[in-house]
């Protein structure tokens, strides 16, 4: 099949796969799991024609390992999975973060824990995406809500991964991944793609973990004359193990600062509805689509509602949420879990704005009445 062009009716997962290919991904490793497998299927079919490789690994542990390895060999790499597979990927996601390996992990969330309501939608991996791998670490997580965004945000995820030399998670869900809707595919030549910075020094002077002024070290690939030593053990600028006092502090601080010093390049939110509102909804992904519908519905009941949609979930948009809370009467956090984002909202709630939860944990797109009940509650 040749690349689809222009306006297309497309599934979210297919849009994600094409976004990756258009972003320059040439390696996919994965393990089948519903509701994400279509991403693997498109890659298996299409990657060879782009000089790329698809491999089906023995599990998600191996899949995450393989994309880290291929990225170090110079290929833009990614994988896709859902809840149980995302759990297995946590181990080597940490390796990728610590070794500063650009790659993209797509999680099409389903109900957990364990096998849960396989394979129905949920948004309950928000905290796992943040803290799933052990140890202190930063992470970048984007939440698409439409098929168009499955394409656009996949490209953005690759660009952020390459810019910051770090794994990026595309945190989607079953509704967004398996919905068909119209999208507009741009001319691939018109896309602004970011590629990791290569070393600017001769091989004998190259230190693989010596950062540039933006705190990101230029990256050689395996096979280059610039020798690349990538270690999951605490390492100094040479990349080799280093257990001296201070080395880990220096490394962890830089890993955090290289991302948190550049939040303006990462944080993205959407404001929807009237500027002044009685109630501000905070939501993301598929649940935010229900919220958009309710802005109009609440108006009919005489309640002015707007929406703050979190596009970047991590790092958390502290300032944007804080500002929204300061400018509203009450807040309803609508999420398809028992309350994960609400804790972050409360963390930045310096104005003591009343915050309510609308929780959808029924294995389907959150019903409008669940959120509407919370809205009415909030204006009582």
């Amino acid at each position: 099949m040749s690349r689809p062009e222009g306006i297309q009716l497309m599934e979210g997962n297919h849009a994600c796969a094409w976004g990756a290919i258009d972003a320059g991904a040439r390696f996919y490793a994965g393990y089948p799991i519903t509701p994400s497998s279509e991403i693997a299927e498109v890659c298996a079919r299409e990657l060879p024609a782009y000089g790329g490789t698809y491999i089906q690994m023995e599990d998600e542990i191996g899949s995450m390992a393989a994309i880290v390895g291929a990225s170090l060999s110079g290929k833009k790499s990614f994988t896709a999975t859902s809840g149980p597979g995302f759990s297995l990927m946590q181990e080597n996601l940490g390796v990728g973060i610590y070794q500063e390996v650009p790659c993209v992990v797509v999680n099409i969330q389903r109900v957990g824990p364990a096998t849960g309501l396989a394979t129905q939608p949920a948004q309950a991996d928000v905290m796992q995406a943040r803290w799933g791998t052990h140890g202190d670490h930063p992470i970048i997580v984007l939440c698409p809500a439409t098929v168009q965004e499955m394409y656009d945000f996949t490209i953005r995820a690759f660009n952020l991964a390459e810019r910051f030399r770090t794994p990026v998670i595309l945190l989607s869900d079953q509704v967004v991944g398996q919905t068909y809707e119209n999208i507009s595919l741009p001319d691939p030549a018109s896309l602004k793609l970011v590629t990791r910075k290569k070393p600017g020094v001769p091989p004998e002077e190259y230190l693989p973990y010596q950062p540039d002024e933006n705190l990101v070290p230029p990256m050689a690939a395996y096979g280059d004359r610039h020798i690349l030593h990538a270690s999951s053990t605490c390492h100094c600028e040479t990349g080799y193990s280093n257990f001296k006092y201070g080395t880990n502090r220096q490394l962890l601080t830089r890993l955090k600062d290289k991302i948190y010093n550049y939040l303006d390049e990462i944080i993205e939110v959407e404001h929807f509805g009237p500027v002044d509102a009685d109630v501000t909804l905070v939501s993301f992904g598929s649940a935010s689509r229900v919220c958009k519908y309710l802005v109009g519905e609440a108006e009919k009941e005489g309640i002015r509602v707007n929406l703050l949609r979190l596009i970047t979930m991590w790092p958390f948009p502290d300032q944007e949420v804080q500002k929204a809370l300061a400018n509203t009467g009450a807040c309803v956090v609508a999420e398809m879990n028992q309350g994960q984002v609400i804790n972050e909202v409360n963390r930045v709630n310096t104005t003591n704005t009343p915050v309510h939860l609308a929780s959808g944990i029924d294995g389907e797109l959150i019903r409008p009445e669940i959120i509407m009940t919370s809205i009415r509650e909030a204006v009582k």
Binding site: S2, R3, I21, R26, F27, A29, E46, L47, P48, A49, Y50, G51, G52, T53, I55, M57, E58, D59, I61, G62, A65, A66, I67, V68, G69, A70, S71, L72, S73, G74, K75, S77, E91, N92, V95, P203, A221, Y222, G223, D224, R225, I227, L228, H229, A230, S231, S232, T233, G239, Y240, S241
Partner: protein
């Protein structure tokens, strides 16, 4: 005639002294690998060593080639991505017995089944040395370790039989006593396409030897020498004697096509360079 390369092109001398215990054979194994690379005259930048976790998993810190040190048991999974990301590379996975066959067992059998072009060098010291001498999947039945104080109740894996059964192209076993043979097998494995396994029987006087082999580190080395036997001599032994020995030598040498060759045959569009631009 060109100047012969030295192991020093591959070995990071400034990292000396080695972190391994006195009497451990990992240093001998490392020398055999770096000597083999020098004999084959493979430029260091065309080699990636992928290590796991454990005593032998520290080996990358002593190498001047490209290096990768990942998570416990996953050296082959990372190595698979490294190889497919740049098929021109020589990928050498360095794993211990617990690393390769317990936590990494699933990756091991599938790497062999796929026949991915990676050389796996397993340092088998029959125990988890780094964590204090617990029993591993290769600890012989009834031998003592810290977690089998009376004797281990599980039969051991035969690394080479497992490799053969799963589809490896080249399988050889040697020991850190038989240095010349060990180097020869490693060189053969690196040169051959496909999944190739060299099992190096190693000495662990600190943990394994202390509890099972009477005597000092020299006796531990003698033990390794004495349990090694050629296939022809092994076959003449009775069952009781067989259980006390391990066959050394080249055990498998065949030419199944490797994963990438088959993948490219089935997907002709997948280019050699990986620089295709699609349709």
């Amino acid at each position: 005639m060109a100047v012969k390369l030295s192991y020093r092109e591959y070995f990071k001398e400034e990292a000396l002294p080695l972190m391994w215990c006195a009497g451990c054979g990992n240093g001998i194994l490392l020398r055999a690998i770096t000597d083999a690379l020098a004999d084959l005259e493979i430029p260091p930048h065309q080699v990636v060593v992928s290590t796991g976790i454990g005593c032998w998993g520290k080996a990358d810190d002593y190498m001047k080639t490209h290096g990768f040190h990942g998570s416990h048991g996953r050296a082959l999974a990372f190595g698979t991505g490294i190889k497919l990301g740049n098929p021109d590379l020589h990928v050498i996975a360095l794993m211990g017995d617990g690393d390769a066959l317990a936590i990494g067992g699933n990756h091991f059998i599938h790497a062999a089944r796929r026949n991915i072009d990676i050389t796996a060098i397993i340092s088998n010291n029959f125990t988890y040395g780094m964590t204090g001498g617990q029993y591993s999947p290769t600890t012989p039945l009834s031998y003592k370790t810290t977690t089998s104080p009376i004797g281990v109740a599980e039969p051991a894996f035969d690394v080479c039989s497992l490799s053969e059964e799963c589809g490896a192209n080249y399988v050889a076993r040697s020991t850190v006593y038989h240095v010349t043979q060990l180097k020869r097998f490693i060189a053969a494995a690196i040169q051959k396409k496909g999944f190739n396994v060299v099992e190096a029987i190693n000495t662990c006087p600190t943990h394994f030897g202390r509890r099972n082999i009477p005597g000092d580190t020299v006796e531990m080395m003698n033990y390794v020498k004495e349990i090694s036997i050629s296939k022809s001599r092994y076959e003449k032994l009775d069952e009781e004697e067989k259980a006390k020995h391990l066959v050394t030598g080249e055990l498998v040498n065949r030419d199944r096509p490797d994963f990438l060759s088959v993948y490219r045959e089935i997907n002709p569009a997948a280019s050699e360079t990986g620089r295709g631009e699609g349709k």
